[in-house]
Symmetry: C2
């Protein structure tokens, strides 16, 4: 067996650390979470933590990647299924994808970890890295395609993708913190959709 049992144990403790940290970071935020709580929940000691990660920030980085990867994967599979079920125009897929993106962002973990603490802990540019790494180069890709098809106006893709992502992120925050989440979700979705519609090709 190439993968020894010991190696499994190692991976297991690492995963336990990331999982415990994720729960606590999402619940109380990065600053308010002590390493002691994390290792207690993971049922290891701080020694294990500092063996696997250089410092607390590195652990947070791992958690953030975890959350982002999960969200990206959920979005992709969701959209792939939709595209299969209903092979319509790319435009409709883009609209649908935006709404799905909104729903994905509205999960609690994503909000607190990626949107709130991420930039503060890892400095600005944390987003850039995430964006580059976890595929919403995907988003840029979609936009490029839509432009090539003449469905939306030509615009610099890089800033457009980032601004739209920020738009949706904020929409998710708005939704989550509203008194009436369902109503807020509808309103936010409506606004997002309208903004996207506004980008459609203006008939020359």
């Amino acid at each position: 067996m190439t993968v020894t049992r010991r190696a499994q144990h190692v991976a297991d403790t690492r995963d336990a650390l990331v999982k415990a940290a994720r729960e606590l970071f999402a619940e109380r935020g990065y600053a308010a979470t002590g390493t002691e709580e994390i290792v207690a929940r993971a049922r290891v000691t701080r020694g294990a933590l500092y063996h696997h990660f250089r410092d607390k920030k590195a652990l947070f980085q791992a958690v953030m990647n975890d959350v982002a990867a999960e969200a990206a994967e959920a979005l992709v599979t969701h959209e792939l299924r939709y595209a299969q079920d209903q092979p319509g125009e790319p435009w409709d897929q883009l609209r649908h994808g935006f709404q799905s993106f909104l729903d994905v962002c509205t999960t609690g973990d994503f909000q607190r970890v990626v949107l709130i603490d991420g930039p503060a802990v890892l400095g600005p540019g944390a987003w850039d890295q995430l964006v580059d790494e976890h595929g919403h180069g995907l988003l840029a890709e979609w936009l490029r395609k839509a432009m090539a098809n003449g469905e939306i106006d030509e615009l610099p893709v890089a800033p457009l993708a980032r601004l739209l992502a920020a738009l949706i992120s904020e929409a998710s925050m708005f939704t989550a913190r509203a008194e009436d989440p369902d109503a807020a979700r509808r309103e936010a979705g409506q606004v997002v959709d309208r903004v996207l519609q506004g980008l459609r090709r203006t008939e020359a």
Copy 2:
């Protein structure tokens, strides 16, 4: 004299605290700035700090209000002058205002303090409060007016204002962290303007 000299000294130390904290928070971020550095720069002791502010977060709150108020004021005066110089259509003023907003957000202090550390330190909802307090209820006002004039489509104003503010905030981050800030500023401005244009009333 109703305002005694002692009172001036008190206000002076408080201002010195806020100013020193603002510089350091903007430069190194909230978490990386110790209270000792702050009071050293303000040439007082930590006792003074904890006399004027309940804790470090309260000081940050004051700094954030300071930065936000300054930005809001700059924006307003700028726009008022523009409106006076060139009393055109409200639509043009809205477009111009967005670009000004972008420029205001691009100042270093605003980025780090309000956009990055603000939500993380004071929790989400810090934005809501700022938005409500420092007038970009102004923004909502403009939008309402533009809708009433039939210049842009009817949409829920609250989410629209927040999403547009987030859009511009992200545009400013994009601009500031780009290799070529000037080019990035142009691209970001172009995208923002295009999004805004997209909201114009669709001829029924």
